[in-house]
């Protein structure tokens, strides 16, 4: 428990920049790389992950005094897997196109280190309200990076963003950007950019 309670706004904002799960803490890289070949895929993945993170955080912070510490990890993963299944079936039932595009990466949210990491580091030690703020902050940070990455890759790989034509016919799309190597290269450059900005003490 923190000695002096941090203001709630700070609890939220840390997820966006200082403790950004992807750029600063390098967690949850698999979905980050895999589904960001277009902005819409990145956004849907971010939302599905945030949903699972938020629900798990609420439940686990409610149950934090009941779950014995020896079996907490087992308990956490059952709870997380349950909410991920809910999200996965929701996508399959109501947004079949997106569900098809994301494929097995939706169930893989179960092993997204961000979710288990936040439960272990935060929700298991803090109250519900604070855990919700933390989950929303981390989720927003995750969505933000996925959205930026997806937009960059879609812009250069297909000349569009959210399927809207941005670059004209003169632009010959760089196929590599929507292929696996493009994912690694773009994320590497983004991480570098993040570090560079951080060093210059650019704060948001």
């Amino acid at each position: 428990m923190a000695k002096t309670p941090t203001p709630l706004s700070k609890e939220f904002l840390k997820g966006l920049w200082n403790e950004n799960p992807i750029l600063r803490m390098l967690l949850g890289l698999c979905p980050t790389l895999a589904v960001t070949n277009s902005a819409i895929n990145g956004l849907s993945m971010g939302l599905a992950t945030t949903f699972a993170l938020l629900c798990s955080s609420i439940l686990i912070s409610l149950l934090r005094k009941i779950i014995p510490s020896q079996v907490r990890i087992a308990g956490y993963i059952v709870i997380i897997a349950t909410f991920v299944t809910v999200a996965d079936k929701f996508l399959a039932a109501y947004l079949p196109e997106i569900s098809k595009a994301l494929g097995p990466y939706v169930p893989l949210i179960v092993v997204n280190c961000i979710i288990l990491g936040r439960q272990e580091a935060f929700s298991s030690k803090n109250g519900v309200g604070r855990s919700i703020i933390d989950a929303l902050g981390m989720g927003s940070g995750f969505i933000l990076v996925l959205l930026v990455l997806g937009s960059i890759r879609e812009l250069f790989g297909s000349a569009t963003i959210f399927n809207l034509q941005i670059l004209g016919d003169w632009f010959n799309p760089w196929m590599i950007m929507i292929l696996p190597p493009g994912a690694f290269l773009t994320l590497g450059l983004l991480i570098g950019l993040g570090n560079w900005l951080n060093e210059r003490k650019v704060k948001i």
Binding site: I66, V71, G75, V78, I79, T82, A93, P173, M175, I178
Partner: protein, 195 residues
């Protein structure tokens, strides 16, 4: 309370709760998911068969075929079935329609593929061809597959059993043709053995 008992009870309750949530959610979403699957199948069948009023499903030796029929006739308008095989990087699954006498193709639609984005995926849709993005699957309409379909490169097909390969994705194009050549003749024998 004993520590071990508490552990067991808590875990059991959590798992039970999870099971309860999921089974109720399953009953909500399952019909919708099934519906989407059926819808996708119907779209694929109507894409590859010539006009029909309804289709019949028939199982022959574990393979399902869909026979398109008109309301006022018992004669089929065409027969559709799924064929599978390996493409450039993985499995290719294609819905194909043929005329009732099994001589020419009435349409194909690629259902599943993991070909190279931007190149091999042109077997489904070619966004670089603004006037006719579906030129590749469409050229199979009317193709005669006896003795076999042939692929030509960099030229316009001259014969009724030839199709043009996608430049940059010759292997994907050839894979589609190979799967069709192999599986249509198998389905032909199957179909004619029961009719």
């Amino acid at each position: 309370m004993n520590k071990t008992t508490k552990m067991v009870i808590v875990l059991t309750v959590i798992t039970g709760l999870s099971g309860a949530i999921l089974s109720s959610w399953d009953s909500v979403t399952k019909p919708k998911i099934e519906y989407h699957k059926l819808q996708a199948l119907k779209v694929a069948i109507s894409d590859v068969l010539p006009s029909y009023d309804y289709y019949e499903e028939k199982d022959i030796d574990g393979k399902t075929i869909y026979i398109g029929k008109l309301n006022d006739s018992t004669q089929p308008t065409g027969i559709a079935f799924k064929v599978d095989g390996s493409g450039f990087q993985g499995n290719l699954s294609i819905m194909v329609g043929v005329d009732p006498s099994f001589t020419s193709i009435t349409g194909i639609k690629v259902l599943e593929q993991i070909e190279t984005p931007g190149l091999g995926t042109k077997i489904v849709e070619d966004p670089s061809n603004k006037t006719d993005p579906f030129w590749f699957p469409e050229q199979f309409v009317g193709v005669i597959f006896s003795p076999q379909i042939n692929v030509v490169k960099n030229s316009i097909p001259q014969n009724s059993n030839e199709i043009q390969a996608i430049s940059g994705a010759t292997i994907s194009s050839k894979a589609v043709v190979r799967i069709l050549n192999e599986d249509i003749s198998i389905m032909k024998e199957l179909y004619q053995s029961v009719n």
